[in-house]
């Protein structure tokens, strides 16, 4: 029994050509279907009228498969078609049998099983962000671009801007100094994330497998901000924020060492692409080789 592999209709160009040749005259004789059979496959080329009364060349490719079956099945194969299929030719009728599109069985890994959790985290994060976003115009809890008073306040503000410009850097500088300069020396063993025992050189090597790299941070990001941002995903052993030696301003990238790799993976999944301080954060594995 022939098995339908696919039934290919002629291309649009072919159809047009066909119509031109025959002049759209439906009374012309249809050529007999051409059947090519080479053992493993069969190709039938025929010309039929489609719904719009246009002649269409239909090329059907069939793959011939041979199956060894039980006698009773072979017997049933010889049954004649009946009912509405009575006049169907041997082989599947394209009107009732269609080769559907390829579908993949989607295997669920344990990872995608609870997407609700990461959704929760994202929501939590957005909630925690609420206070951080501040409109430059009305000082309310939204982005400046979305400010409802934008049209009214924007021109006002730009006129004031010139006056403020001189004051701003002066005000910002002392604040940065206060927080940026490291305090008293703390031995490594006493620092946050360090174990209380002394560490040998070897064990001091950090576990790079749970480290994420954050880039595109804004200049005035502090370690504390990163702590707030990344802590919800799990315990952090170390935060390294690259800073300029003299100005103490952030260089725009940081490394976060998580204690567990799963937490790091979740942090990447959620924070990557997150808007923070007018920039879109880029979060990825620190060591892409692992």
């Amino acid at each position: 029994m022939p098995v339908a592999e696919e039934s290919v209709k002629s291309s649009w160009a072919d159809e047009v050509e066909e119509v031109e040749v025959t002049g759209g005259n439906s009374s012309t004789e249809f050529p007999h279907p051409i059947v090519k059979n080479d053992g493993n496959s069969k190709t039938i080329t025929e010309v039929v009228l489609n719904e719009d009364d246009k002649k269409v060349k239909v090329i059907s490719h069939y793959k011939i498969e041979k199956h060894r079956v039980a006698k009773s099945i072979a017997q049933r194969k010889t049954w004649k078609k009946f009912g509405l299929s009575e006049n169907d030719k041997p082989g599947p009728n394209p009107a009732t049998t269609i080769g559907a599109e390829e579908v993949q069985m989607q295997f669920l890994s344990s990872k995608d099983e609870d997407p609700s959790e990461s959704d929760d985290l994202k929501k939590k994060l957005i909630d925690s962000q609420k206070g951080q976003v501040k409109c430059r115009l009305c000082k309310e809890d939204h982005w400046t671009k979305q400010c409802p008073y934008k049209d009214k306040l924007e021109p006002l503000r730009s006129s004031l801007m010139d006056d403020e410009k001189d004051e701003e850097p002066a005000a910002a500088a002392p604040q940065e100094k206060k927080t940026g300069i490291p305090g008293k020396y703390v031995p490594p063993s006493m620092r946050e994330g360090g174990s209380k025992k002394g560490e040998s050189m070897i064990s001091n090597r950090r576990d790079e497998t749970a480290t994420v790299r954050v880039t595109n941070l804004s200049e005035n990001t502090r370690e504390q901000d990163l702590q707030e941002l990344f802590r919800p995903f799990g315990e952090i052993s170390r935060i390294f924020l690259a800073k300029d030696k003299f100005t103490m301003a952030s260089k725009g990238f940081a490394f976060i060492n998580y204690k567990r790799r799963d937490d790091a993976a979740r942090a990447i999944q959620v924070i990557n692409g997150f808007g923070y301080d007018h920039l879109i954060l880029n979060v990825e594995w620190a060591n892409l080789n692992i």
Partner: protein, 329 residues
């Protein structure tokens, strides 16, 4: 997988069934004409013309000689599988909701709807002579009003018992010699939409509107496993290769009347594969754009077919990904 799409029905599919050897696939829908297809290439062998109402249930005898259909036109017909001609027609007083050939093929159990003053009934008739069927039931049991109406029906081992699934979620086992209830199991909380036997006839699976499917021991009516989803389950089937692939497949999705209010992605019309032992879903197959109403494993276990509210039957042959899949536990 490259499924074959069978487009022979004008309305939503109600039941699909393979014959014992799996070379033929029978399908019925809410239009009055059941179809039969060659499962290997999706070629339509024929249609069974005669009914005047929706077909609720179908079954085929083990030797693929007689095909039975129960319809909302309040009749039950027996057909010759080879010619598609009606062998006999039994007129009822209510719609036939469930129909099942016994293992021997000598008896048919069917359930009728509760409608127009008629009570829901469970009847068993002798069909050893399909041309000359005596429509006086050899067993008759009134289901309502003591229980809710019976929708689906299955045979127990040795043709001694039948099991019915009810509108309120109850599963009842009947002894056909005494016409009495022997067991009642109430685990499901809503309507039983489908019941299917496992390949060896020791277990069966029920699909319920309460969003779960359950696996049962047929002889004791003991609930063995529960498979939970978040949408009503319309059909469930047990893999015939239960030793190698101990899986069940569930089909369902949102209720048909609510479908137009949501996107297909939200409706969850996928066929869902669960591990039968661990009760955990491990794979899904998309395809239908309405809820799946009926599912059937190919008797060789290497494929399955699904019929949906969208009126299509999709015949799938599993690919290597399924055969090589090992459940991680």
């Amino acid at each position: 997988m490259k499924p074959i799409l069978l487009q022979g029905h004008e309305r939503s599919i109600t039941q699909i069934k393979f014959n014992r050897e799996g070379d033929l696939l029978f399908s019925s829908s809410k239009d009055p004409i059941p179809n039969v297809w060659w499962s290997i290439n999706g070629e339509r062998l024929g249609t069974f013309d005669g009914h005047t109402g929706a077909i609720w249930a179908i079954d085929v005898k083990w030797d693929t000689t007689v095909f039975a259909s129960g319809s909302a036109d309040q009749s039950l017909r027996l057909w010759d599988c080879e010619t598609g001609k009606t062998i006999s027609k039994l007129q009822m007083k209510a719609s036939v909701r469930g129909i099942s050939f016994s293992y021997s093929g000598n008896l048919i159990a069917y359930t009728t709807d509760k409608m127009m003053g008629q009570q829901s009934e469970l009847n068993i008739i002798d069909v050893r002579e399909p041309n000359n069927v005596d429509d006086t039931a050899i067993m008759k049991a009134q289901v309502t009003p003591t229980n809710q109406k019976a929708l689906s029906v299955l045979w127990g081992p040795l043709d001694e018992t039948v099991v019915t699934g009810h509108e309120d979620g109850a599963i009842i086992k009947w002894d056909i010699r005494t016409s009495k209830k022997t067991d009642v199991a109430i685990e499901h909380t809503k309507q039983i939409n489908d019941m299917q036997l496992g390949h060896d006839g020791t277990m069966f699976i029920t699909a319920s509107k309460d969003s779960t499917a359950r696996l049962w021991d047929l002889s004791t009516l003991e609930p063995l496993k529960i498979f939970k989803t978040d949408r009503p389950v319309n059909s469930a089937a047990i893999s015939p290769l239960i030793d190698k692939h101990p899986y069940v497949v569930l089909g369902g999705g949102q209720e048909a009347m609510e479908v137009t209010t949501t996107a297909a992605r939200v409706g969850k019309f996928d066929a869902r594969f669960f591990h039968a032992v661990f009760e955990e879903e491990f794979a899904r197959v998309k395809g239908h754009f309405g809820p799946i109403n009926s599912l059937a494993f190919h008797p060789n276990g290497k494929g399955y077919a699904s019929g949906g509210e969208d009126g299509f039957v999709r015949v799938h042959v599993f690919d290597d990904a399924y055969n090589q899949f090992r459940f991680d536990y």
